[in-house]
Amino acid sequence: MSETEAFAGGALQIAARVRSGELSARAVTEAALEEIAASEPLLHCFNTITAELALAGADAVDAKVLAGEDPGPLAGVPIALKDNLCTKGVPTTCSSRILQGWRPPYDATVVARLSAAGAVSVGKTNLDEFAMGSSTETSATGPTRNPWDPSRVPGGSSGGSAAAVAAGLVPLALGSDTGGSIRQPAALCGVVGLKPTYGLVSRYGLVAFASSLDQIGPFALTLADAAMTLQVIAGHDERDSTSLTHPVADFATELKRGVEGLRVGVVADFLSEASGSCAAAVRQAADALADAGALVREVAIPELLHGLSAYYLIAPAEASSNLARYDGVRYGLRVDGDDVQAMNARTRSAGFGDEVKRRIMLGTYVLSAGYYDAYYAQAQRVRTVILQSFARAYEDCDVLLAPTTPSVAFPIGAKTADPLEMYLSDLFTIPTNLAGHPALSVPFALGEDGLPVGVQVLAPALGEGQMLRAGAALEAVAAPGARGPVRPQLGGPMAGVAK
């Protein structure tokens, strides 16, 4: 069976056909594995492909269907996992030399939940090293390429997951979002990317970057697929002490509720900072929501523009502490030295790449005596200011509308020499993480050079329902050809070239 036939209709359709016995999970998995192998030399979405495990998992799903047991809501759906999610016995590298070859002794909670729901993991996707980056170029295994134009970045840090879904290699993938690492690559690759409320999804087994900001979420071609994936992975987990205990909404129901009467605020402060096509897409999206019955107005929240500076103090501070664990003692790389301190330093210097070193040093500096108050404590106070300014905006709005990114996908190498320029890619996504709120990027338009443009829907804590309602209305009127799958080829934009 061709991969196109097997994947028709997306994840929910695959699951329905596998559950009815019309399609075997094995056939779907084989199609995905074939497509992944063929794409790898050009795109490099994957660090590890787990073909044998995937086929065994698919066979187990097929056996359940034959036996008349419930194979789960994602039965037989191939899924790719960002390589910072722990997978028992399967290498988990964070695209870093320091974890090369490490095989975790346990599964992340999200991995176990997806497997219990019948999803079939096909491999581990490439990322910026330890999720630090906005282009997947800081990966120790080399960059992932954007399937719309392989000379460009897919965004990051979850670039492998976004590109794999955009190229139609898998209908679903998981990423993690600390400052935009799901939404930004989703926008640059023309797919849906969803960052849930902090604590809605367990972080157990997610390799920590900045613990007060990190959150796991799905990539998909459609909102319905993303919503179902979130339904499967959301919910309390006693192994994550920051996991929320609130009941989880029924996201499929929310998706169908429409936007009649929904109060939408367009974040005016972001529009002037975005490129022509990224700002224009937000204005079109606002008009479309108004046409569908939403109450749309512009809101001024200038405080959000300070989020970037606060983030690049808070996230490196947390990272410098979290990454202290890579010391050559318990797992990963060790480079020997005469004493334990020399061994630590030699291991870390050989194991970490430049961007990780920069962030560890930035974090170490802003936490050090004499600088703590001026940098770190001030950033934490600005975090409060951002939370308060969001709270004021949400007194009159149910959701906010904003660009996801300042521009379309940029060429590989364009920003690697200037870290600050790279950091500015996250300007519109970061405030959400500082506040712990959910946000979504919906593929909405085609911009400069025929590349995809995402529109971002932001909502207050646990506002996934209203966020999905607005997202569904945007998906319904998005430009044809603005989302994947695209057939990647060398030598130019693949805009609108659907399979």
């Binding site: 002794p105 330093a345 430049d354 920069r358 040093m361 170490t364 939370l387 600050l420 709120h437």
Partner: protein
Amino acid sequence: MNEPLSKDAVAHIARLARLELGEEELSRFAGQLSAVLEHVEAIQKLDTADVLPTSHPFELVNVLRDDERAACLPREAVLAAAPATEGGRFRVPRILGEAP
């Protein structure tokens, strides 16, 4: 505006962070980190005198459970990932200085 970071300052931070950096890295990181610090310094001008810091998006509460035995990861599975082990423990180089 604060002073740009010197190479010596970067070397000191690197020591605190247990990183060994070469001359080329020290110069490059000094420039790049100074540029980032210059950008983020904008928030130092914001008046936050009456604002309390936020360390976490939601109020954190202690998570307690009954003090009952539960399964943990098998020792051999954990040690299997270590670079060096001895007698069921992690093996590391010398920690203390030579005996006098």
